[in-house]
């Protein structure tokens, strides 16, 4: 089995196409009170018990900027057809919306490991939850401190 594969591509090998402008098609949204972190988690688990363990949530405890926070979630699982991680969800405590992302995995994933970059509006708790094929849910949480950037733009 190989380790994490990381191949640096020459610039001209990178996939790149001319991007046509995307059309904006959304309606103004009413500002509604967001569900609590626990409510959001219940919505994902259907109220099933959360087990501690198996999930490793890697996120820096102190952030230079909340706009792009690297997160990696690792779940202990053999990732076989019978026993694998189906979904990994990320939720936050204090953004305007509790959801961050839901990743769908399967036996062809080989390894239950996902990384992304997320936005955190302020210092808060982030929770990662894994759903396994046996219907159990496993979780890990982390507290992060978001520092304010110095010398930002005046939007007024």
């Amino acid at each position: 089995m190989s380790g994490p594969t990381s191949i640096r591509l020459a610039r001209r090998d990178l996939i790149f196409g001319a991007g046509a402008g995307l059309v904006v098609l959304t309606l103004p949204r009413a500002v509604l009170a967001r569900p609590t972190l626990d409510d959001a988690i219940r919505g994902f688990t259907g109220g099933k018990a959360l087990n501690d363990g198996r999930v490793k949530l890697d996120i820096p405890p102190l952030l230079e900027n909340g706009n792009a926070v690297g997160v990696t979630i690792d779940v202990e699982s053999p990732m076989t057809a019978e026993d694998h991680v189906r979904r990994i969800a990320l939720f936050n405590e204090k953004n305007p919306q509790a959801d961050i992302a839901i990743f769908h995995l399967g036996p062809r994933s080989g390894r239950a490991r996902v990384s992304s970059r997320i936005r955190l509006a302020t210092s808060q708790t982030v929770v990662a939850i894994a759903e396994l094929t046996d219907g159990s849910f496993w979780s890990s949480r982390a507290s992060v401190i978001v520092t304010l950037a110095a010398c930002i733009e005046d939007l007024s």
């Binding site: 990178l14 102190l62 230079e64 936005r119 509006a121 950037a149 110095a150």
Partner: protein, 258 residues
């Protein structure tokens, strides 16, 4: 989401004493040296550095024929990886025609207007940023090498004067932070030595690529001063001075900064 918060309280830090002035050789370091491991990693890997989108846009623009003569940058300059190597490290440079210092973005604007006879891209436009980033990255890894050219002296001297002049309601100069207090923090953020090694940068705060002038305008707003206009001589002079200060540090374009 409310990503933006008034950041002024952090200026309550007292800047007193400790006039370190000029930064000595071995202490001199790029802004990337002050960043977290995570942000450094984002810059270091081309498939994880969002500034690469600007590089790729610039590469496309480099080859795009425009104007009545349908000339592209490549029509005259050929392969940018060869012809533009070192160009960013040498700018601002002296422009014979205007008799003034000119920065890299200004040079690209002029080339587009005079050589391609096309409508120049405005300062701050994605296109000009993309071309500047693409040309800039051809110098990646090369030392910042301000030209030995006495005609640049007045510009550099004025840049130094502006760098050291106290401005704004907070009555701070660039030097108050970046010469005298670069080893401290402003609220949670490390104060850097203000070496413009990575520009145009992908700033996490902006969530986009932006120019050194945009970054300086942010600092000016930070000290409650009226920012200079984009493309103003003040900014060119400041850039010319900053490049002499950063001399010898490696170009990192496209840099990632918090």
């Amino acid at each position: 989401m409310v990503w933006r918060k008034p950041g002024l309280a952090v200026f309550a830090i007292i800047f007193g004493g400790g006039a370190m002035a000029e930064i000595a050789g071995e202490e001199k370091k790029s802004g990337s040296g002050f960043m977290s491991r995570e942000t450094q990693a984002m810059q270091a890997d081309d498939t994880s550095n969002p500034g690469m989108f600007s590089v790729l846009d610039g590469e496309r623009l480099w080859r795009e024929p425009v104007g009545p003569a349908m000339k592209s940058c490549a029509s005259c300059h050929g392969d940018a990886e060869v012809s533009m190597r070192g160009a960013a490290a040498r700018h601002p440079a002296f422009d014979e025609t205007s008799g003034k210092a000119i920065d890299l973005a200004g040079r690209i604007k002029l080339c587009r207007r005079d050589k391609q006879t096309a409508e120049p891209f405005p300062r701050g436009s994605e296109e000009l940023l993309a071309l500047t980033t693409y040309v800039g990255t051809q110098s990646r890894g090369m030392p910042v090498a301000p030209p030995v050219d006495e005609r640049l002296t007045p510009s550099r001297e004025n840049g130094k004067r502006l760098f050291e002049a106290r401005i704004g309601q907070l009555d701070l100069s660039c030097a108050s932070c970046h010469d005298d207090n670069w080893d401290k923090r402003l609220g949670g953020s490390p104060i850097t030595q203000a070496h413009p090694t990575g520009y145009p940068i992908y700033r996490l705060e902006w969530q986009s690529v932006g120019s050194l002038q945009r970054r300086m305008r942010n600092c000016m707003v930070g000290v409650r001063a009226e920012p200079y206009e984009f493309g103003s001589q003040e900014f060119i002079d400041l850039e010319a001075y900053l490049n002499t200060r950063a001399s010898g540090l490696a170009v990192e374009t496209p840099g990632v900064r918090p």
